[in-house]
């Protein structure tokens, strides 16, 4: 589906050469930063800085004018005053440039008539010159595979998540959170005002892109609702699509004469549209990142029956109860374990002080050593009444009991255990007073493809959203 977009957008995500217009050897302008960050990221193509200052940025010569660049130019990044953009588009057409990204702002987003008019003229010139426009008012493309960083040189690992954003700030934040939580992106694009290429175009590209397995989007509005709706319907058929709609204000309910008109708020219609298209709606940055993470790690895995191990040592009882509530409230099921498993657990742990039903309290293992703890977890995971195992690992409690060495053994076990059996384990690492240790463990588990969340609530929400998608795929 949408395969034609792959060739069409090749110069945008895999340009052989990039010109940066608005670079300077003497002052630190956005254009200068772009040149430096592409250069130090190791961009494999040719970089042509363009600007009136002359001179060099690192060892790259600055050309006074785009037309004076001798080689071919696939992609142009523009950071110049808006009064010069039309002239620049003429130069781009003369050089057969394929796509132009405008960092330049001050167009329709400030809602002036002048800004709108200028956008119309830009679009007209772009059409005549067969140039595609990204923006204006945007930070454009991030493609770690092709060493295209975000502005300021932000560059993480390449991975399966594609993301489309109307906002550059949210796109950047998502990439930096991704670096911290091992959410790795195939491509991220921030398209700003989207006068030419918009969310629909990039969603279509990501649906076709073989490197992208999961798609996310942050949107505030659309200039063509029908096209966006139809695109999302098609895209969601082939890849999970997670959407955060920003700006959920009441706009549609003005002076409607019907009941229907007065109840149909903009937010309600967006939610309905997303549901109807088969997309998964999220409502904030936390939900967005949690959902992308679980899709990246578990992909098409299915099942809402959870085994909950509320704690690995003291204090597991209350946490188990709270964890059970969080899971039930977020649509998961917590079936009682089978008799055989309960039998195994009571032989291992003894019944006193342990809850062996589900949620399961295995804290008694602390009196018998780690081997018993690992056997208990193994036994819980082997029970076929559940599809997934949720484990709360509270560093503040474990550190004094098991010391750093024991803690390391516990997490080595999780990594090894995930590698040797199929049932996913999800670890909840609640933040507390031992942050350095907690962060280290989080990195270790994430690197081993174990999803890590900060609360049972967030973990269960993410599991539920994963299932929401898989279920819909099934009944299709």
């Amino acid at each position: 589906m949408f395969e034609e977009k792959l060739t069409e957008f090749e110069p945008i995500f895999y340009p052989k050469s990039v010109a940066v217009v608005g670079a300077s050897a003497t002052s630190i302008k956005a254009g200068t930063l772009w040149v430096s960050s592409l250069n130090s990221a190791g961009f494999p193509g040719i970089i042509y800085p363009v600007g009136s200052s002359g001179g060099h940025i690192a060892d790259l010569e600055i050309f006074p004018n785009l037309k004076l660049v001798l080689g071919e130019i696939d992609y142009v990044i523009v950071s110049i005053p808006r009064k010069s953009v039309l002239k620049l588009l003429d130069d781009c057409a003369a050089k057969n440039v394929k796509a132009v990204q405008f960092f330049t702002a001050g167009f329709s987003e400030v809602d002036t008539k002048q800004g709108r008019k200028l956008e119309e003229k830009m679009l007209e010139k772009a059409r005549q010159g067969h140039i595609r426009i990204i923006g204006p008012n945007c930070i454009g493309v991030y493609c770690p595979e092709h060493k295209i960083p975000f502005l300021l040189g932000i560059l993480g690992e390449s991975g399966p998540v594609g993301f489309v954003s109307q906002s550059g700030g949210i796109a950047t934040k998502l990439v930096t959170i991704g670096i911290a939580r091992h959410i790795n992106y195939s491509k991220v694009v921030s398209f700003g005002n989207g006068i030419d290429l918009d969310a629909s175009d990039f969603l279509q590209y990501l649906a076709a892109d073989p490197k992208t397995k999961v798609i996310g989007a942050y949107l505030e509005g659309t200039r063509n609702g029908a096209r966006l709706f139809n695109t999302m319907k098609e895209v969601a058929k082939v890849k999970p699509l997670v959407v955060w709609k920003g700006g959920r204000t009441e706009a549609g309910a003005q002076a409607a004469l019907s009941h229907t008109g007065s109840l149909a708020s903009s937010a309600a219609i967006w939610s309905a549209m997303l549901k109807q298209a088969g997309a998964i709606e999220v409502h904030n940055l936390e939900e967005l990142t949690d959902t992308l993470l679980i899709f990246q790690q578990l992909r098409h895995w299915q099942g809402t029956r959870a085994a909950i191990i509320g704690g690995l040592a003291d204090g597991g009882g209350g946490n188990s109860v709270a964890a059970g509530d969080a899971c039930m409230e977020n649509g998961l099921k917590i079936p009682p374990l089978s008799l055989e498993t309960k039998q195994e657990l009571s032989e291992l742990l003894g019944e006193v002080g342990s809850i062996l039903c589900n949620p399961i309290d295995v804290s008694q293992a602390q009196f018998q050593g780690l081997a018993t703890l690992f056997q208990a977890i193994d036994s819980v995971a082997r029970d076929t009444v559940t599809d997934i195992v949720l484990i709360q690992e509270d560093i503040d409690i474990l550190l004094p009991i098991y010391s750093r060495k024991g803690l390391e053994e516990i997490n080595d076990f999780f990594v090894e255990f995930t590698g040797r059996q199929n049932k996913p384990i999800i670890v909840v690492l609640p933040p507390g007073s031992a942050e350095p240790e907690r962060l280290q463990i989080e990195q270790k588990l994430l690197a081993a493809s174990i999803p890590v969340f900060y609360s049972m609530e967030r973990a269960s929400k993410a599991i539920y959203k994963l299932n929401q998608y898989c279920r819909r795929q099934e009944v299709k």
Binding site: A251, A256, T260, G261, L263, A268, A272
Partner: protein, 220 residues
Amino acid sequence: MIKSQNLLTEVESKELLKKAGIPVVEAKLSRSKKEAISTSKEMGFPIVLKISSPDVVHKSDSGGVKLGLANATQVGKAYNEVISSVKQAYPKAKIEGVSVQPMAPPGVEVIVGMSKDPQFGPVLMFGLGGILVEVLKDVSFRIVPVTERDALEMIREIKGYPVLEGYRGQKPASIPALEKLLVKVSNFVEKNPQIKELDLNPIFAYPDKAVAVDARIILE
């Protein structure tokens, strides 16, 4: 509340809906007391009278609706009352007469409507009728065109869904009938882009069918 040249009367709205295959309780316009009585006799009692005016949006607020009229005498008396109380409430309203219709047996009350979203065009709404719609906003939406699957999802999505299944011995509502009705309304508004807003409120849903008891269409 008086407004809008573009408001079709109940009788006009129902005619259009009926032609589109959407089940409605048929209503006939009567321009005089005499006509109202003879139409009532043809239809059979009990009867409902409603004011028919393109200027009156909320008919019952101004005393423009009389329910459960059991015989010709009651219909005649109700005719006078309806006309005079609307004239009092809205002296400038153009009054065509009254709509006469058989009183539908009680069923589960639901609402189906359409309005236009500036970004996504026509959208359908579904919910339980009466005050629940207004107070709890327990409604679901889908963009037109609405498929059978969309229709079923929007019916199941409302919190009041158990009421439709027949809660505590109440008679259930036919989900397939509601599903079909939603798809038909979707087709109807898709073919008639000049319709700006539409309310079928209430619809009475029974174990085997669903019928629109009142209808309102507002044109662009």
